[in-house]
């Protein structure tokens, strides 16, 4: 008998346009001690299944059909009181963001003991003893001391360990982990996944691991279920699904995952999800307006950064000695050659985005120099030259949902820089905007709409078209795909590669994601705490890393290709 069995589950969300079937006829089961991965892209319904099992759907969602059995007992018919007893004591939950899933006003002890007493009904003393045991089990050192502390005294990874301890507090039979490592850095992610895996085996607990990350799936799950638009398209052992996918969607999803072992020209087979519009006008870049970039002053180095320093004040004070600051970049020096794609990689807070902002002119460094095409950008009295240089440096931002002005039509968004800087004749502008939209794969007809009518990937294409409207020579991509699903990411990366080839763009590509960097960049610099630790050619960087930190990161990264891709 399976630990958890879901039969023909349907979950629907009624809205003003009708009813949206978020989960459509899904059947699966989990055995004790097994980790089932639930993978799919945003909106596929994977989290909804987890919430539907314990009847925690957000309003107005409801289970409209199907049965859920826990150890043979039908729990989908339970009333509110009965299902409340199942939550915590029989099914534990681990949420995505450890920063918000603990109550900041209570100590870890209060939160653990509350759960233990509620689920197991132990005395206060025994509950405390058990709380300390649990913390020890999830790998928190000095549990007797740390249990008295508040959540803000723990780091992100440590908090997630506490969340796991709370999930285990009621001795559950099943754990539902909803994107447990998405908010964590790579090095911490590895430890948490290992912990979940060990706990499942040692305590014989079943686990449903909801994630969008194929690397996580490949590393920890025993079996995997692939969801697409609310439907279960494929389920099987992890090895079988990853090496011999049957469904077209699974194939497309797997081919879209960037891999570390070798560099590909393009991502194949990624058109399944959001194909480009058909019948777009192809423009010949060499004769078209966007191909006519102004004179080049230099050959060779396009951007030179020397001894760039910037510190942020974290505590201001009247007297200098009382001020506290953190050094965001420390003597950063590198050059980017014309036409190459330069990668900056590092964990969050390593200063990589700060460098991008300084190059783009959004932030002034404390000291150092940035030279673009022979023009010094920092403290240069010739403001016109600096403004002209800055126009040739454009940026694509991380969050496609906030990087477009939602009150402007797409045509106006793209035309604005051309008109403002007088880059083309007024009568030509609407034609150019249409060509740009065609070129990024959206089609000129989309220009009449507003940003909210587009998906994240389409918005990122609009951002790219807007950046191209300034006819840049250097394109800064600051985590351009980290907010996107993996298949959409592959399409955007393909587009960027194509554009680079056609227009001879130079790119500064910033990402925390090593496989993406591997696919996109010619030379790579790795940063930690504001310093560049290592700078090498792509192949050299991934195959013979010199710096110990690089080696550590490369080792910890969840590797998708272990199944012999």
């Amino acid at each position: 008998m399976s630990l958890l069995r879901i039969d023909h589950l349907n979950i629907e969300f009624p809205n003003r346009y009708g009813t949206k079937l978020a989960v459509n006829d899904v059947s699966l089961s989990i055995e004790p001690g097994e980790i089932l991965g639930l993978v799919g892209e945003s909106g596929a319904g994977k989290s909804t299944i987890g919430n539907g099992i314990v009847q925690l759907l957000s309003q107005p969602g409801r289970v409209s059909g199907g049965d859920v059995y826990l150890n043979g007992e039908l729990i989908s018919d339970f009333d509110d009181e009965a299902i409340r007893k199942v939550r915590g004591s029989r099914i534990g939950f681990i949420f995505q963001d450890p920063m918000t899933s603990l109550n900041p006003l209570f100590t870890v002890e209060d939160q653990l003991i509350e759960t233990i007493q509620n689920c197991l009904g132990l005395s206060a003393e025994k509950a405390k003893q058990r709380a300390i045991e649990l913390l020890e089990k999830v790998g928190i050192a000095d549990p007797e001391i740390r249990i008295k502390q508040y959540p803000h005294q723990f780091s992100g990874g440590m908090r997630q360990r506490v969340v796991i301890a709370i999930a285990l507090a009621g001795e559950p039979e099943l754990i539902i982990a909803d994107e447990p490592t998405t908010a964590l850095d790579v090095s911490v992610q590895d430890q948490i996944l290992q912990l979940i895996k060990d706990l499942c085996i040692n305590m014989n607990v079943g686990c449903m691991l909801v994630t969008h990350d194929m690397g996580v799936i490949a590393n920890v799950t025993d079996r995997v279920a692939v969801l697409y638009r609310g439907r279960l398209v494929e389920i099987g052992s992890t090895k079988q699904v990853l090496t011999a996918p049957k469904h077209e969607y699974t194939k497309s999803l797997i081919s879209a995952v960037p891999i570390v072992s070798k560099r590909l020209d393009r991502f194949p087979l990624v058109e399944y999800i959001e194909a480009e519009e058909k019948g777009l006008k192809h423009i010949d870049v060499s004769t078209h307006w966007i191909g006519q970039i102004k004179k080049h002053n230099t050959t060779g180095d396009l951007l030179t950064i020397k001894y760039l320093n910037l510190s942020f004040i974290t505590r201001d004070a009247f007297f200098k000695k009382n001020r506290r600051s953190i050094q965001a970049t420390k003597n950063v020096t590198f050059t980017i050659k014309e036409g190459e794609s330069f990668g900056l990689v590092g964990e969050s807070g390593s200063g990589k985005s700060t460098i991008a902002r300084m190059v783009a002119g959004l932030q002034q460094p404390d000291s150092g120099s940035i030279i673009f095409d022979g023009t010094e950008l920092i403290n240069n009295p010739d403001r016109d030259a600096v403004a002209e240089a800055h126009l040739q440096i454009q940026m694509i931002f991380q969050n496609p949902y906030s990087s477009l002005n939602s009150r402007m039509k797409i045509n106006d968004i793209i035309a604005e820089p051309i008109l403002f800087h007088g880059l083309a004749k007024k009568s030509d502008v609407s034609g150019i905007v249409g060509d740009l939209l065609d070129h990024v794969g959206l089609g000129r007809k989309t220009g009449l709409k507003y940003p909210h009518e587009f998906s994240g990937g389409q918005r990122q294409r609009i951002s790219i078209a807007r950046a191209l409207a300034c006819r840049p020579r250097l394109l800064i991509c600051d985590e351009p795909t980290s907010a996107l699903d993996v298949s959409v990411q592959a399409q955007i990366l393909n587009l960027l590669k194509d554009l680079q080839d056609e227009l001879g763009l130079t790119m500064l590509f910033i990402s925390h994601d090593l496989p993406v960097i591997r696919q996109m960049c010619d030379r790579i610099a790795i940063m930690k705490k504001g310093e560049v630790l290592e700078l090498a050619e792509n192949k050299e960087f991934f195959e013979h890393p010199q710096n110990p930190y690089t080696r550590e990161l490369l080792e910890l990264m969840p590797r998708f290709e272990q199944y012999g891709q």
Partner: protein, 310 residues
């Protein structure tokens, strides 16, 4: 996809705003009453049976007649007459016109000052922000009524009652407008701070646009919802402030009464049995302010995504 080729009316009819409005009985009810009152006020010269500003039509013999459903009434006067024999119904219609006009114009003035200061303060930040917001704090630490009473009293004694009566409406608009701008400035500033951190502002900077363009073309349109919401509430507040001042005898003169001055006229006769001179204009004032506030609540619920209902 589907809204691309629709006209503005069709876009409005498919919008969330219209959807929520149709499903909110209180909002529909308030909107209907509000529009009836506005139309009555707007077309007062056509609807009102008498012209209360024309003193020659008044007959002192008609004074203090009760509404028609009471004994001793005159069928010409629906809601009775005031102490000078003016038809109360006509006077209320004209009074509502005055109240609404003062309310709306005062809020426009507040908006002009408040939006500009809020935008600059939020966008520029630093010392400018501190300076402007401290000015706003100082302004707010004086109660609007207190400021208004002092200024109106000074103006009245300096220029005499006649000149004051002539310019009463303009002075009231200026005082209420100038006294309440920090409310709007603060709201605008806080939404500018939220918008400023978004990447489209960075994108505009990277494309080399000037500060003025970024402030007024990019940030301002994105802060319109909260401005809209607070403006409605401010109109209701301005009407109440004007009514209070008029009640205290510092607002609109008796010859051009607003709702507040009508209430004030009636208060001397309240205990001699002529309750209608106070209570009927009072009821109109309460209904007018209440429906505006209810509409403001509805707008806040609809435009605030945190309170969004499915």
């Amino acid at each position: 996809m589907k809204t691309a080729n629709l006209s503005l009316t069709q876009q409005f009819l498919t919008s969330d705003f219209w959807y929520h409005f149709k499903h909110n009985k209180v909002a529909i009810f308030s909107a209907i009453i509000f529009f009836i009152l506005v139309i009555l006020a707007l077309f007062a010269p056509l609807i009102a049976p008498f012209d209360p500003y024309n003193l020659q039509t008044l007959d002192i013999m008609d004074s203090e007649l009760p509404p028609i459903w009471q004994e001793g009434s005159d069928s010409r006067f629906l809601f009775g007459t005031d102490d000078q024999g003016r038809d109360l119904w006509s006077t209320i219609l004209y009074g509502m016109r005055v109240s609404l006009l003062i309310g709306i114009l005062a809020v426009l003035l507040q908006g002009l000052i408040g939006i500009t200061i809020g935008l600059v303060s939020g966008y520029v930040g630093g010392k400018t922000d501190s300076l402007l917001m401290r000015i706003a704090d100082v302004q707010l630490s004086f109660s609007t009524l207190m400021v208004a009473i002092i200024i109106l009293a000074i103006v009245q004694s300096a220029f005499g009652s006649d000149a004051f009566n002539k310019w009463a409406m303009v002075i009231l608009i200026l005082i209420i407008g100038l006294a309440e701008w920090p409310q709007i400035a603060r709201t605008v500033r806080s939404s500018v701070l939220a918008e400023k951190g978004k990447e489209y502002v960075d994108a505009a900077k990277v494309m080399g646009f000037g500060s003025m363009r970024i402030m007024f073309k990019h940030i301002l349109p994105n802060t319109l919802s909260p401005i809209f919401v607070i403006s409605t509430v401010q109109i209701a507040n301005a009407i109440i402030t004007e009514a209070s001042l008029s009640f205290l005898g510092l607002g609109m003169p008796v010859t051009e009464p607003s709702l507040g001055s009508l209430i004030s006229i009636g208060k001397q006769y309240l205990f001699s049995g002529a309750w209608w001179i106070t209570l009927i204009p009072g009821a109109f004032l309460v209904i007018l302010v209440m429906v505006i506030n209810l509409l403001g609540d509805f707008l806040r619920d609809t435009f605030n995504p945190k309170l969004y209902k499915g």
